[in-house]
Symmetry: C2
Subunit: 349 residues, 2 copies
């Protein structure tokens, strides 16, 4: 039984044992929806980050890890069209790590992002590990009753959009694998490893930070939810091919994607040119961009804002009724887009 | 800086950056209190369990670990006088573990306890680790607005009570250290190691399960909260000496404890007799009993029920105004009770 099958079995088990009618959506979306009271629903998400799997200490300054731990959960709340309010952090580290300034820098990065979005650290847990760092990042948010945007609301004819540019986080990961690193002490300083020496330092910096310091699309999430613009939404944590697949599966629809419309930034092209990589592959299958993928009914397209917090959106395709099939078109070619996301079995249940 | 100092600094940092006036209690209690709406407060707790620190695989059948992961968080919700509703489980395990039936048995134990208290598994996360199992157990509960029982409400003259008996979990841990183990397949079967051969099998079984399958005092928590009987409450996770210390510190009071009144069960005495251990020391300093320690104003004492769910309570002492000092009396002796809880730095923030 693979991880998806297990989560499906857990989902049906949890559903059949649902004691509370106030759980509107449990396992199977970016976050859970619980009916609160007085016109509001509570949105809850939890993300486990494990050293050596989800991040590598050598490549990740503690301050950026504090940012990222919060960012990945903020992204889940955004993907529900909700507003984040309260954070809880469970963190485990070894006795040796406890003596370093890791925790101080970690919380510094955490608070800097939390303050930006008015999120309050409301509790948590601190524990010991034998070795390695473990973080569980929990956020509670809210949305007007019934206004949460689920993965399951896409309908044939809906237009598919993504925020920002794709592939940057995967490109950043390639750079880390090539030995490049970022130094936070002196702003903007990167350490290009021998393998990337002579490349554009600004491009390296941008891509490393796309991987290490993702920017959750909190503003877009709130606008799309509050103005009821999106019919379905998911955040791009596993990669477009995987995440669009999840959305289509939950909505019981298919999709066509226009390859030329997928937003790539110049830095990704620059890196791919240097390494003979296909930028489209990074954009389609690279994970951790933490952009939002959402669908919009045709009648709502004209109501979409051009930018929120300076971030643009791109129309990349359309939902159709060929359930479970995603086709991608590039000039004269057209093929089935297979889900090729992260290798490990880390997923939100 | 030790763990308590760090958590204090985190608490003051989080308080000074509190963006939401709806966080009524954040870091520093068994769980956090968030003002919900319509006369209800939301109670949130998270507990991280790390293999090799918080539990040992060899001594812990997966089914009991699933029980315990939920039980420790239910105990925190009970300690707030609240009713548990929704659970979220973040769980990390290695690829090798993924292939075993660990996860199936774990969730079996989890669901058995969740069903008993009407708790719904509403979401979570599944992740990979390099090795070892990591669990973060989150529960959301509710209580009438302002009815949550904090650590900070004890006043001089209040009577101090505990539910159930103390020291059993610590005694169970001693047995595990002596090599005893419990077999779930055949009900009631224990494997007494050579070190404990010839001892009372039922006593071994009871004590092992006190450690491995703690029974959270959910019923007592609800009664004490809903009927506004307790002025302050904490669950006994670190041990009476540590936890009473936390309660007194938060309430800015002191306490006297009557050693003869501390409820020990006969199985603890049996084990201690065999190993020349002091049962009082286990009861005072042994952790993980997950009983409730609470204070009651003199005028409310007569309103206390004798039993809830078959569990009795014992009056063990009285709150006084000698801030931060806890005295314990035993016959002619009287001494300061020093906090001697768990050695590692695992604590709820």
């Amino acid at each position: 039984m693979n991880e998806f099958d297990f989560i499906e079995s857990l989902r049906s088990q949890a559903n059949s044992r649902r004691h509370s009618t106030r759980v509107l959506t449990g396992i199977g979306d970016d976050a859970s929806i619980i009916s609160e009271a007085a016109g509001r629903d509570l949105i809850v998400t939890t993300d486990l980050l494990i050293e050596g799997v989800d991040f590598h200490r050598g490549a990740t300054p503690a301050r950026l890890l504090g940012h990222k731990a919060l960012a990945v959960s903020l992204s889940d709340i955004a993907a529900m069209g909700a507003r984040p309010f309260w954070s809880f952090l469970a963190i485990g580290m070894s006795r040796e790590e406890w003596k370093t300034n890791f925790k101080d820098e970690f919380y510094e990065g955490f608070f800097a992002l939390a303050d930006r979005y008015g999120v309050t650290l409301a509790g948590g847990d601190i524990s010991e590990t034998k070795d390695g760092i473990v973080i569980d990042s929990i956020i509670l948010g809210e949305v007007a009753s019934g206004a949460a945007v689920k993965r399951s609301g896409a309908r044939p004819g809906d237009q598919i959009y993504v925020t920002g540019n794709l592939g940057g986080a995967a490109a950043g990961l390639k750079l880390i694998e090539l030995g490049a690193s970022v130094e936070l002490g002196s702003p903007g300083a990167v350490f290009p490893s021998p393998a990337v020496r002579g490349w554009d330092d600004d491009a390296i910096q941008t891509l490393l930070l796309r991987q290490l310091q993702p920017q959750p699309r909190v503003g877009w999430g709130i606008v799309l939810g509050e103005q009821q613009l999106a019919s379905a939404m998911i955040d791009l944590s596993d990669g477009l091919s995987s995440d669009l697949n999840h959305l289509c599966k939950e909505s019981n629809v298919g999709a066509t994607i226009d390859a030329a419309a997928i937003p790539l930034d110049d830095d990704v092209r620059h890196l791919c040119g240097r390494r003979a990589l296909d930028p489209l592959a990074l954009a389609l299958h690279g994970g951790e961009d933490f952009e939002l993928l959402f669908t919009v009914a045709p009648e709502n397209v004209s109501r979409l804002p051009k930018k929120v917090d300076g971030v643009t959106i791109s129309r990349v395709g359309e939902i159709n009724n060929t359930s479970g099939v995603i086709r991608i078109r590039e000039k004269n070619r057209e093929w089935d887009l297979q889900a090729q996301g992260f290798e490990h079995f880390s997923r939100s249940t």
